[in-house]
């Protein structure tokens, strides 16, 4: 299949699904109270955007996700670096991180709400907790998988430890971090939304919860659509950043 045809087909598929949904809702095959309809959700989104009523929720989620991402990133990078350079620390921390990585960490959302209340702190904590493990493994893995031939190369050119750090270790770790960047940011967002969904008074997750509790299918669909759109825009931006940062990988 040609590369040009594929995006057209994808768009057609999406449009077809939406059209089928719309048709089913209008003909009565689907109950609009439960399923709403694409046009209704779209109208609500436009109205929310025009009135600006969604902006505080959007900002609240972005803020929680942003703090979780930044703090999780710093802590994960510090822990990963320490584990990758201090052997006993690595041995100590790695099994804990492996367990944390294996379990679905969102199950701890209620715990954070209980401990930190329904404000932004519990959302940041959950987002942080999702992010920190990912960043830990990116940095730790990047350090451990440093190509020994490159270490030899820099050393044989007379390079000091500082040269090794700057020329080999940091770029190697950055390559790993960039390749997991989209997942990391996605997780930060997930943490914030799930936290809000469980208990909060603001945020996109709060809107989801509100819509569900008030049986407002249109609000539910509109909010889901906005979350999807936000994540897609974010991912497109990150992909651009990643491509630029790892230009050297492209043959």
């Amino acid at each position: 299949m040609s590369g040009r045809l594929l995006p057209v087909l994808r768009a057609a598929l999406l449009f077809g699904l939406l059209a089928a949904w719309e048709w089913a809702a209008r003909s009565g095959a689907l109950d609009v109270r439960t399923f709403s309809a694409p046009t209704a959700a779209g109208r609500l989104v436009l109205e929310q955007l025009r009135s600006g009523s969604v902006v505080p929720h959007f900002l609240a989620t972005l803020q929680a996700a942003g703090w979780g991402l930044v703090l999780g990133f710093l802590a994960g990078a510090a822990l990963g670096w320490l584990a990758g350079t201090v052997r006993w620390f690595g041995r100590l921390v790695e099994p804990v991180m492996l367990v944390l990585n294996a379990i679905p960490r969102v199950v701890l959302a209620p715990v954070f709400i209980l401990w930190l209340g329904i404000g932004i702190a519990s959302k940041v904590a959950l987002s942080f907790f999702l992010v920190v493990v990912l960043v830990f493994f990116a940095v730790y893995g990047g350090l451990r998988e440093v190509n020994p031939a490159l270490v030899d190369r820099v050393q044989s050119l007379g390079g000091s430890r500082w040269d090794l750090l700057r020329e080999v270790q940091v770029p190697s770790v950055l390559a790993w971090v960039f390749s997991s960047l989209r997942v990391t940011v996605g997780f930060a967002f997930t943490g914030a939304v799930v936290g809000e969904f469980i208990a909060s008074s603001r945020g996109l997750g709060y809107l989801l919860n509100l819509a569900q509790n008030t049986y407002n299918a249109t609000l539910l669909m509109a909010t889901v659509a906005q979350i999807l759109a936000t994540v897609l825009v974010l991912f497109a931006a990150l992909e651009w950043v990643e491509r630029r940062a790892t230009r050297w990988k492209q043959g």
């Binding site: 190509n147 490159l150 030899d152 050393q155 050119l157 020329e167």
Partner: protein
């Protein structure tokens, strides 16, 4: 020098000046041994190696697989320490990587996140050469190894042969007096290999640099070197003999392979190597 045979393990430069006697060899190994202590107990990779290489000589080291050729080179480079004996460069013991030594590895080992220009300028940069000077030097060497126009490329955008050329430029940009090479062409196709061998000879042979080349290719060793050291099978390998190559310089690498002196020494080395491979299997 007509009949290549075992000679004393001192390798003079092609035409030794009259006052050569008593000179300090550029590279000297005295009773060098290396034992690795791994999980399977101690493994004596190198038993006892004596070798002296005079300034300007081109010496090839050959031997059966796993005989410790590469280990030996790492010791001379100062990347590893011998567990016995001593290694001196111009009479000074090797304590680490010396700025007069350049090393080329089997894998090109270019930094993948740096362009060809940045990679070639890396050595001078580490040595504190100013930016305009190191860029000028890097450009000059890139040109000399035939990579002109590829300065801004990343290693992933080059072929295997081009990467190895860049690696050669990277090493030569440090202007080393001693060039150590660990099977530098092993991963290249036969054609690229021949071309690079000729280029290397043009850049390095003729007395300006002292070259130690580790290779598994006997023909390559004979065609390029002034002397070929054959190592015994491991463990605890040593140098079985050093054979002088009685071929004049400059050499035409294509023509040299049909000279009687070449075929004679090549066949002799093959026979000896074959014996060593057999011995290695018995162990």
């Amino acid at each position: 020098m007509r009949t290549p045979g075992a000679v004393a393990p001192v390798v003079p430069r092609p035409e030794p000046p009259p006052a050569a006697a008593g000179r300090v060899p550029r590279i000297r190994l005295e009773g060098v041994g290396k034992t690795f202590h791994g999980s399977g107990g101690p493994y004596p990779a190198i038993g006892h190696v004596d070798l002296a290489v005079e300034a300007g000589a081109f010496v090839a080291i050959v031997g059966p697989s796993g005989c410790g050729k590469s280990t030996l080179l790492r010791l001379v480079a100062g990347l590893d320490r011998p567990t016995a004996g001593r290694i001196t460069l111009d009479g000074r013991p090797v304590t680490g990587v010396s700025p007069t030594v350049g090393i080329m590895f089997q894998q090109d080992a270019l930094l993948p996140w740096r362009t060809v220009l940045e990679n070639v300028a890396l050595g001078p940069r580490i040595r504190g050469v100013s930016r305009p000077e190191r860029l000028r030097r890097a450009r000059a060497w890139i040109e000399r190894v035939g990579l002109g126009g590829f300065e801004a490329r990343y290693p992933a955008q080059l072929s295997g042969g081009m990467r190895q050329r860049a690696a050669l430029a990277q090493v030569l940009a440090c202007e080393p007096e001693i060039l150590l090479m660990d099977e530098p062409f092993a991963h290249l196709d036969a054609q690229t290999r021949r071309i690079l061998e000729a280029d290397l000879l043009a850049l390095c042979a003729g007395g300006s640099r002292t070259v130690l080349l580790v290779t598994h290719d006997l023909d390559e060793a004979v065609a390029m070197a002034d002397a070929v050291a054959l190592m015994t099978a491991g463990p605890a390998s040593r140098i079985r003999a050093v054979h002088r190559v009685g071929l004049p310089r400059p050499r035409d690498l294509n023509r040299v392979r049909s000279e009687p002196a070449f075929t004679h020494l090549s066949r002799l080395l093959w026979e000896h190597l074959w014996e060593e491979v057999g011995r290695g299997r018995e162990r």
